[in-house]
Structure formats: structure tokens, C-alpha cells
Symmetry: C2
DNA sequence: CTGCAAATGTTATAATGTTGCAAATTTTGC
DNA sequence: GCAAAATTTGCAACATTATAACATTTGCAG
């Protein structure tokens, strides 16, 4: 799984997408899971930007290219991608974003810019540790952590010409 | 704002509710905000257990006592209660829970039991600090933090007779 | 090629949340 | 007090997000 550029900085985004797709193919191969055309296309849509995409946005994008899909098609593809850790669901936005650390067995934390919509996924051992300690202090067994920080990204803080 | 018992342990829950209501009245008084009958009733419903309540659950409860309300009534009451920090929204459940630290200016973190549904709100300086540090490391300005941990609570871990 | 399992298509519907405007109520300025 | 203004509530319609149920197609193993 290759290292990628920060979404805030200008970067060759096509490379992001192709890395993500290559990683996804590899992960699915390892698990004997089928990255079918629909699933791959949905993943590609999600990776087209660093902004999360709603299920119905994806539905519309499929529709725009002639594939007249219904909601279950999209949700099933998303379920598959979630299952193999290829995308994350952002609960506070009801939207989905490509996983920047696919296959790495991590707890994602997300920095969500309210101005430009860009989401940065962090791998945060320190935060995870703090969360686990807090849970342990209550004798609580944590299974899934939802950690989403809404705020303003450095790019929008700096210049005011937000995308 | 008075200290309260842990939801996991048996406790006089009526006391929880009356404390919460008393605190709410005081907070509203301080802010010149009107805790109208509907708002107070909604808060009371939410505090009837330590399990989060959906907006439409509240709607049904209002209906059950003869108040034939429509969704906006409930959502407006919830918006009000959220605004003054009297309830929290659990994004991963689309549900609402009474704030255990009303008026304390905190970032809530929630331990959500998948078996019994009970939610414990933590005041977690260590976790908040870790989150803020992680955001700062990316030059990100955090404004709102959603931190929800799904898992199994100590009571459900211990005995298997979950409520 | 046949039969099974997985994936997709299709229709309908459930669950959650919002908009916009009218009516009622409360507050405020006089 | 009383009228104007602001806030709150009622109400109807609608928008968005997600799932259920069942039919059909596709991929694959034997």
C-alpha cells in the first residue's frame, strides 16, 4: 500500500485514484473477493475527489453514464467496499470517502473541512490509544470507533478562495 | 450541575431525570431561553432512559399522549436542546441522548453498548487533548468533534442477561 | 452442461430530516 | 394596557437516506 500526498496540497490526483484502485484489486485478490465492474466504478467515483460522496450522488453519476441503477445497487457496492476496508462511511455527513490506509488495519479519524468539504483521514495511534484507555477505564470493550472532526482545513484558513 | 450515577449501575433514575430537568431550567434561565412545555417534555422523554431516542420515537411518544405533533415540532425542540447543550446527537445512530454534563463546556465522547443500547457520556480531557494535537499537527482548526465508540458495556460483558 | 452461490435488477417502502408559510403565543416598547 | 414585533408552534408537503423482498442474471465447480 503506497504512501499518498495530503489532499490539501496540490497533487496529481489521477495517481491517487490509480493507487487506490490498484490497492483495491490487490486486497480483493488476497481475500478472493470479486471487485466487479460496478464495485470498481463506485470506488473510482468515490476517489475522484477528496470530498465525501453521498450514495445518491453515486447513483446519479452512474445514471449519467447510462447505467440506470437503483439505490440497492449502490448500497450493495458500498457495503462491499466497506467490508473490505476500501472506503469509510462518514456518519456525520451520511457520505462515503476512499480509505487512505486500505489494508492497514487502522482506526480512521477524519478531519472534515466545512468550507471546502475536503476530508483528511488520519492514522492516529495517539488518539486511538487515548480512546482505548478511556474505554478501558470504564471496563468497556470498544469494537468500532467513529471519530470525525469538523472544522477548517489549513488551505481554507490561509487563503479565502476555497474550492 | 450535579454529579450523577453511572448508567450501568442500578440507580434511582427518577433522580437523573429531575436533576437533568432542574439543570436545564437553570441553564435556560441563565441564557434567557424559553424552555417551553414541548421542549421540556421532549427533554424528559430523552432522559427517561440512558438509551438514545430517535426523533420519530419522540414523535410517537408525543402522539401517545394526545399531542398530535408533526416532525418539525420534534426537530425544532431537538435543535433548541442541542443549541443549549442539553442533549447530544449520536450521529452513528441518528438518535439523541441527554447530556450528562450540561453547561460544562465539554466535548462529549460516547460509549455505546451494542447489546443493551445504553450510552455513557465521558468527559475525556485526555482524548480531547489527543484529538486537538492530531488536528494541530495538520494545521487544522477543529470546531466540532464527533466521537462515538460502539462496543459492549461492562454489564453486558459480565452477565448475559441484557436488558 | 448443470446446478449452486454470488451478484445484480426491480419495485416498493421505510426511516430520517427539511422547507415554507400560516396561526398562535409571548415579549417588548410605548 | 395595548399594539407592533419577535418567537414559537401547527401544518402540509416534500427531500434525502436506506432497506426489504423477490426475480433474474452471471460466474464458477463439478
Amino acid at each position: 500500500m503506497t504512501e499518498r500526498a495530503l489532499p490539501y496540497r496540490p497533487h496529481n490526483h489521477d495517481a491517487c485514484v490509480s493507487h487506490a484502485l490498484a490497492d483495491a484489486r490487490e486486497i480483493c485478490r488476497q481475500h478472493n473477493a470479486r471487485l466487479t465492474p460496478i464495485r470498481e466504478r463506485v470506488l473510482e467515483f468515490i476517489w475522484q475527489s477528496h470530498k465525501p460522496l453521498g450514495a445518491y450522488d453515486i447513483l446519479a453519476m452512474l445514471g449519467a453514464e447510462g447505467h440506470n441503477a437503483a439505490p440497492p445497487t449502490v448500497y450493495r457496492a458500498l457495503d462491499f467496499l466497506l467490508q473490505y476496508g476500501l472506503v469509510h462511511r462518514i456518519a456525520s455527513l451520511n457520505a462515503f470517502i476512499g480509505c487512505a490506509h486500505a489494508g492497514e488495519h487502522h482506526r480512521g479519524a477524519f478531519l472534515i473541512c466545512r468550507q471546502c468539504g475536503t476530508v483528511l483521514e488520519l492514522a492516529t495511534p495517539a488518539v486511538s490509544k487515548a480512546v482505548e484507555d478511556a474505554a478501558a477505564a470504564e471496563a468497556f470493550l470498544p469494537e468500532e470507533v467513529t471519530l470525525e472532526v469538523a472544522g477548517v482545513c489549513p488551505r481554507c484558513l490561509g487563503d479565502n478562495s476555497n474550492a
